[in-house]
Symmetry: C2
Subunit: 376 residues, 2 copies
């Protein structure tokens, strides 16, 4: 099932419909996309049908500004918070833009991990904010470096933007102790934490620590969740969780007073999936699919580089001592897109291709780095 690559789903998977299309002959390990065959078309057809049948015209009206209660209730139950703490967003990009425009002033600083989601950073800088990279190690952002950065930018820090679980691009999971240490530093300085938690449902091995927001009792942390990585990005559906006061501050903005819920009918469609158990069944299936893909890539990847096997999410981070050349039949995301660091690195997404293609890509990558490369 679903072992074919994007090519077999290409009928309307074309330029001008979807965001980006790679040439047919290239195995694209670049973007953080799901393989077309992993996008649950039938499940969504059913979800929209059921939402429109169950809610009728109420699914088509201006939705409750904060998001329809049936959706918020289901989201809150899963997150261990109250409905008052949930705000429906049109995905994480939308949520980050809202926070960057409503809770930050032009020329404020956002502290980010040394390697951080490039397009998330672009949302911040295009809004006129400055980002400052903070040193990280294999356990995530360094708390002392965070302290030093806050002190150095005294009064100008709008928030810290972190992605502690199955980090994009490095795939790491920040351990609980490190999460607590980072929270302690942020709280001590009264600096808001924005936790991008897009991948946390995609555990492939083991368990993950509680989110930073949960560890903080949802005080001083805004947690961003999305269905883009676990159902489908074309839905443009996510939600944020924060303390009720912060949610109120956002939802009282004219944007919500005027338009109502950020994505009403789609939130009701997804609410039917959350309530019926369909979402959990889909997630179990998707995890198995991603695990097969990760293992196919990892099992064929040997060469003059280092990597840690990611325990979840979409990404594997390959590190070299020097600049590397990638074989022409494979596309990867250059590490420099995400930030500067010692040596060289590339991000490989194992989400967009079949296990067979990933295995072949792994072999092609293993055999074709430039010979002068040395291990880091």
């Amino acid at each position: 099932m679903n072992s074919a690559g994007p090519l077999s789903h290409r009928r309307r998977w074309s330029q001008g419909v979807v965001q980006q299309v790679s040439p047919a002959e290239v195995t694209d390990l670049g973007p953080g996309y799901l393989e077309p065959g992993l996008l649950p078309v039938d499940l969504l057809a059913k979800a929209y049908r059921e939402a429109l049948s169950e809610f009728g015209s109420a699914a088509l009206a201006y939705g409750d500004d904060q998001g329809a209660l049936p959706f918020r209730a289901a989201a809150a139950r899963r997150a261990g918070c109250t409905e008052a703490q949930v705000l429906v967003t049109a995905g994480t990009s939308h949520a980050l833009y809202l926070i960057a425009t409503m809770f930050a002033s032009k020329e404020d600083v956002v502290l980010v991990e040394r390697y951080a989601y490039d397009l998330g950073r672009k949302i911040l800088t295009d809004r006129g904010l400055r980002t400052r990279a903070v040193a990280m190690d294999a356990d995530g952002m360094d708390p002392e470096a965070l302290h030093d950065a806050i002190v150095a930018e005294r009064g100008r820090v709008a928030f810290v933007y972190l992605n502690p679980t199955f980090h994009n691009p490095t795939g790491i999971v920040v351990p609980e102790a490190r999460r607590r240490a980072l929270l302690e530093v942020a709280a001590r300085h009264g600096v808001l934490v924005v936790e991008d938690d897009a991948y946390a449902d995609l555990t492939l091995d083991g368990v993950v620590p509680p989110s930073m927001a949960e560890l903080a009792g949802y005080e001083g942390v805004i947690r961003l969740r999305t269905f883009s990585k676990t159902i489908a990005p074309g839905l443009r559906l996510g939600f944020l969780i924060a303390d009720p006061r912060t949610v109120k501050r956002l939802v009282h903005h004219g944007l919500f007073a005027s338009g109502g819920s950020a994505n009403h009918v789609t939130s009701l469609a997804v609410a039917t999936l959350l309530e019926s158990g369909d979402y959990d069944r889909h997630l179990a299936w998707l995890r198995a699919q991603l695990k097969a893909r990760r293992d196919a890539l990892v099992g064929n990847l040997t060469g003059p580089f280092e990597f840690d096997v990611p325990a979840g999410g979409y990404f594997l981070w390959l590190r070299f001592a020097e600049e590397a050349r990638v074989p022409a039949e494979v596309t990867v995301a250059a590490g420099a897109r995400f930030g500067d660091g010692p040596g060289s690195a590339v991000r490989l997404a194992y989400s967009l291709n079949s296990p067979d293609r990933l295995a072949a890509a792994g072999r092609a990558l293993a055999g074709s780095w430039i010979p002068s490369l040395e291990r880091t």
Copy 2:
């Protein structure tokens, strides 16, 4: 068909699902909502089904940043522009927020009509902009007053926000000559015009002039369109039309680079309605429904007030010499919500109730203004 009031559709039309619910015993002429029975539930169920069937996984992927081409092509054909000039938005509120955050700086001024959409103004002021009301008469904003306001606010004007067709709240249509005069003033000063064109498809009598954007050849004007008033607000789907350079400036923002199309799957669902002719058939039906509602209200509305019969849209503007008392069984929108002016006024929406209820509301209103009121 659809002659029942909101009460008969109330099963899930309840607090926490939809934005606002009036008590059962009140005929609510306040909000610019469609009556639940006018929201095309079956049509949307079909549209989502067809979009998912036709586009498959491509409907669920990150959509083209500017919006899927099949949608943009259909929208452009109707507007007489090119696909490069169309950007998909999550409704007019979203579009206005984008323009207010991307094309204006905090403390800039937005010039608005003396009476203007209150929640649109709130989007601007909550974003930290200042609004300045410009005098209007029965033909819309006064061009000389616009000139004077631009001069008075020299260098601080981000844009002029206008709603020239079936104006919210007054229902007027700005004649073509006045549109040209306003455009001439804005162009002379190099000031951007944002044309909120939410109601233009809802002509009940006669024809409307070309949009200001069309008259300007889409130069210097951003036109905001939405399906919230003609299909359903819960879709959160609209689009803006501008010159290709302005569209590029918007679409190159990290927000779109990261999330892709602002509302991908729903734009493809609506594209099927635009292409099949279903949208036009629905529009013809909706116009007839609204016309019956407007006529039922107007035919029963006599009293110590003045009004012009609106030729389209949702709203009728009732003017008095003094403050008026409204009967308890009817809710209206106080004119002061939309701006200050001489005398007193209220906005009546004839979109949310059946003709029978509107006729009864008209009679109730006609009989119960305070006796001391005099005609203006």
